[in-house]
Amino acid sequence: MVVSLISIILLCPLAAFAIFGLLGLANRRFPRQDYLSTIAMLVALVCSFLLLREVVPNPEPHTVNWISLGGVTFSMGFYLDSVTVIMLIVVTLVSSLVHIFSMGYMHGDPRYPRFFAYLSLFSFSMLFLVVSDNLLGIYIGWELVGLCSYLLIGFWFEKDSAANACKKAFLTTRVGDVGMFIGMMMLFTKFDTLSLYGEGGIFAQAAAQLSTADMVWLSIAGVLIFCGAIGKSAQMPLHTWLPDAMEGPTPVSALIHAATMVAAGVYLTARMFPILTETSSLVIAYVGGITALVAATIAIVRFDIKRVLAYSTISQLGYMMLAIGAGSYVAGLFHLTTHAFFKALLFLGSGSVIHAFHAMHHAHDDEHEHAHEHEHGEEHILGSEIPPDQDMRNMGGLRHKMPITFITMLIATLSISGVPFIFSGFWSKDKILAGVLGRAMEWSSVHHYILFIIALSAAGITAFYMFRLIFMTFFGEPRNQEMHDMAHESPKSMTVPLIVLAILSFPVVNTLWFNKDYVKPPPQPHLHAPQHAYLSPDSQTGGQGAALSLFGVSEAFAAEEEGGHGTHADDGHHGHGPAHTIAMVLSIIVAGLGIFFSWLFYHRRTLSAESVATTFRPIYNLFWHKYYFDEFYDGVLVALTVWKSRLFAQFDGSVVDGIVNGVGTVTRDILAAFVGIFDNRVVDGLVNRVAQVTWAVGGRVRRIQTGAIQTYLFVVLAGIVLLILIFRAL
């Protein structure tokens, strides 16, 4: 049953892709494939729900041999536990909604069929990643979603910015993937398998075999695997691709770059939870925390509606990482699901807004092809200019024009900002904060409280910039009257998904996460024995709180504390009980502050954002320039290019191009040019030199042949004498 359901889930989108993908290549000769793709997705969704009932504790993976070698076997298989099912539901749900949304959004695009083919392929890959029971399968899905991301970001490849962005996305994530692959190699070398679950799986072996002496390499392996997540989930310092990825169509951003693919990094990290050592956890926590804060600060100053959301996504993903790094397995995954819905909603909402503005363009140009419309993006240097239909400074007052969009987006914003109790985001965020604080209390060093502070600040800033977005977009006076006049509410195909997602932004899914029998954090006992105890409260609170969370705060608190105490008689672990209370109070406060200031700045305008920006110019600049990450990458490049141009004057022409072409150019222009020259000059040159010398010697030998017979005779006789003398000496 499980296998067949999963197979259906996987095959539906795959079949949709295979059939329509090929036809799409051959230029849409098949009518209404968008419906079929969508239906395939909906079937998968239904099956996912059916799977909910199939979850059993401690499931065994269902595997087949994929590569069997003489000694080793690589199997492929499904592993179905509660987390898998939840992820399946999230993915199929969001994917289905995005499919529906796209029918409206992408309508009229010349490559409309292809878009659905890509979406189907993506859904398949993502689902494959989710259900895989082994690292190899995860890696395969991992790379395939990367491919889809590449194809979809570059969907309007006529735009140079899109072409650049998709390349950047693929390459940047690949850097992380390589780390992940190395990590896999390390695990494989140790355990001779890449399967995670089951008898001979990595986790079982790790639990059975590893001793404290193995912690160092295991930490390295863990961090390396996490590298994959850094790339995929756009964590620092590999986060720069995600904002650029907004060049893709907005539904893509919603599906891939908000809800699912980028979350796959979190999912992976969570999956690897049983082998994360303390060190690797710490690394994960800090990377996540810093990413959360930095991305949030950058988001404050963006004007491009999609980029605000992009940085917000990065920030939220950092949050999740932080949670998992801090050991709050359930909290991290919980936030993943809630975030998937409200962030998808935000993106789709922004898509709706953009779409409204598109319509205006349509009217203007009589040009009905998106592709052409997007060509104006050409002259943009990556991210430096904002397309007018995405610029929040052109918006304002849209709430009347687009009520549904406004309301749904507002719900999502409230959710992400952590407005208490009735929004899902509050609960998941609160759990993370509590987990981090609790963890910080357990760590021996005080320094790690900084993680909690970071998390808290990020929460506040998130509320601030999200409301900034809402205020700038939907409130106030229209800033661009012409555009405003043309704007309109989106068609049903787009608003329905918005509404569904809005419903999902209330804590409806939370039941799953609060059922302690349903989601259990895997143990890490052998790996960090000293601290493992603190993990149980997470599950305990999760479990007990589940039933209560729908009803009210106080019960939840109570349960949390109870659970904590119930499990741990040990005095050292008392901290987490109060931790939850503290965390919740503080989170409510910072969310309120964020919203309040946002209101002051962008609605009441009692405070001027500009004057603050002027006052804190350096900080503002730092934010505005995205902490100079792109500049840093490009700057290193330029320095090296200058050095290179001195070195290889003849390559001057490529310098200018090189600057534009981003990080890849560093390697291309410097290393590769050098290597290329080396290849031509040195390696080949050496060979040619040998040939020249041979030739020259040939010329010399030839010159002895003077044509004068007496020279010849001399050679003969001298030769005789020499031969005799030489051999006499021998």
Partner: protein, 496 residues
């Protein structure tokens, strides 16, 4: 081994006698035939070759098959080794006669003398292959040399031909004079002219301290000068490019194949019968000397061939290089080494003569001996061009052509004796050689002919003759019989 008396030997000597008879007959026929265009003389000499061939087979299978027979009181020996060379030489002579028929260089009025001389030189080479006495060795060598000088200078109206003859004779006279001096020293030490006894005597005397190793060394080196000049090994090779370039093409072909083969026959017999004893080699490490000479020969030949523009001259250097490869086999005192030389000579005969035949054809039709003259040949005369490719590639020693198998045998023999450096030198040389062979191929295939693009047509006879060379060049290596043949032929040599 008892030597046969003079009269008893005559029957065994029938091939040589036939050659003389036909040589005289050719001259006489030439006197009778007035028609300048007549080819009767050439065909008579071909018939002569054929009769001689039959006689060689007859003598071999009647008498020589069972073991060596010493003739004329020890002057020459009839054995498988000499029979092998006689067949080889007759093939070369017959081919040269056919070439000469095609060649437009030669003066039609002098053809009687020309073919007679060819038969005479073949006689000399027969004797070179079978002599077992110092005097006979020298006389046969001189017969071949003198006739070669004349043939090289046969084009009386060509300064190049005269120059070739002049250089050839000057060089040859000095070399053979030096050799004769060496022979006199050998005679003086051994007290006999019989090759079979020399080795033993020298060994005894050396052991007794009666003669200094230096004396043997000088004698060997002087002898080497004479032999080396015949096989064009460094440093005795310098005549050959000039002579090959100046001589008529058929003669060049003949010299590069037949003369070299005969030289090797003499060399092998002389060195193995005369200097082959272990003690002698301890006193004078002549195999090592040969190894050095061999390495130098192929290197110099190949390097100097690189910049050549004249195909004849290029092939001259190439044949020097091949002399070097062949000498590798001579370095070793094993039957494999000698067998390899013999086998390679067979292969070399076909491929080198084939290449020269193409040169003859091109010289006739295109009027050029230069590499440029071969441009665009692939479109003008594709079959000839492909045949040339096969010859050249075989010369370069690339499978699956016979040249590879020949080199294979040589290298195997060399490596077996642990001369790794020599084998390596040889192999690297064959890589270098590919380069200049490829230049001709390049001209034929990769370059355009320029204005002249008409296809060149050849007669069926031409193609037939060409295929006579092409087919063996392709297939010899695949057939067992040639290996067996060459191995049997060396079995008579006194080996270690």
């Amino acid at each position: 081994m008892e030597s046969l008396k003079n009269i008893e030997s005559l029957l065994y000597f029938s091939p040589e006698i036939l050659l003389v008879i036909f040589a005289v007959a050719v001259v006489l026929l030439d006197l009778v035939v007035k028609d300048r265009e007549s080819v009767a003389v050439a065909y008579l000499s071909l018939v002569g070759c054929f009769c001689t061939f039959a006689a060689v087979l007859f003598t071999h299978f009647s008498f020589g098959d069972e073991g060596p027979v010493s003739l004329f009181l020890g002057m020459i020996q009839l054995d498988a080794f000499s029979s092998f060379f006689k067949v080889l030489l007759l093939l070369a002579t017959a081919a040269t006669i056919l070439f000469s028929l095609r060649s437009e260089e030669l003066d039609a009025r002098l053809k009687g003398e020309y073919y007679a001389l060819l038969l005479a030189i073949t006689l000399g080479m027969f004797l070179m292959a079978s002599s077992t006495n110092l005097l006979m060795i020298f006389i046969s060598l001189e017969t071949v040399s003198l006739t070669s000088y004349i043939l090289a200078g046969f084009l009386t109206h060509s300064p190049r031909s005269s120059e070739a003859a002049f250089k050839y004779i000057t060089y040859g006279a000095v070399a053979s004079g030096t050799m004769l001096f060496g022979l006199s020293l050998l005679f003086g030490m051994a007290g006999t002219g019989d090759l079979a006894q020399i080795s033993g005597r020298l060994t005894e005397l050396l052991a007794a301290g009666e003669i200094a190793p230096l004396a043997v060394l000088i004698a060997i080196t002087f002898v080497l000068a004479g032999v080396g000049y015949k096989i064009a090994s460094v440093p005795f090779h310098m005549w050959s490019p000039d002579v090959y370039e100046g001589a008529p093409i058929p003669i060049t072909a003949f010299l590069s194949v037949a003369s070299k083969s005969a030289g090797f026959a003499l060399f092998i017999r002389f060195f193995y019968a005369g200097f082959g004893s272990t003690e002698l080699m301890q006193a004078v490490d002549w195999p090592f000397m040969l190894a050095i000479v061999s390495a130098l020969t192929m290197t110099v030949g190949n390097l100097a061939a690189l910049p050549q523009q004249n195909v004849k001259r290029l092939l001259a250097y190439s044949s020097i290089a091949h002399g070097g490869y062949l000498l590798m086999g001579g370095v070793l005192l094993t039957s494999q080494g000698i067998g390899a030389i013999l086998f390679y000579l067979v292969v070399y005969l076909f491929m080198n003569l084939g290449a020269f035949y193409v040169v003859v054809l091109i010289a006739n039709e295109v009027g050029s001996e230069m590499v440029e003259g071969y441009r665009g040949l692939s479109s003008r005369a594709p079959l000839v061009a492909w045949a040339m490719v096969i010859f050249l590639v075989s010369l370069a020693g690339i499978p699956p052509f016979a040249g590879f198998f020949g080199k294979w045998l040589l290298f195997t023999a060399v490596l077996e004796q642990g001369y790794y450096w020599l084998a390596l030198v040889g192999l690297l040389n064959s890589v270098v050689s590919l380069y200049y062979y490829a230049r001709i191929v390049k001209a034929m295939f990769l370059e355009d002919a320029g204005e002249e693009t008409d296809s060149v047509s050849f007669s069926t006879g031409t193609f037939a003759l060409l295929s006579v060379f092409v087919i063996p060049t392709i297939f010899i290596g695949f057939l067992n019989i040639f290996y067996t043949f060459s191995n049997i032929s060396v079995s008579v040599m006194p080996m270690q």
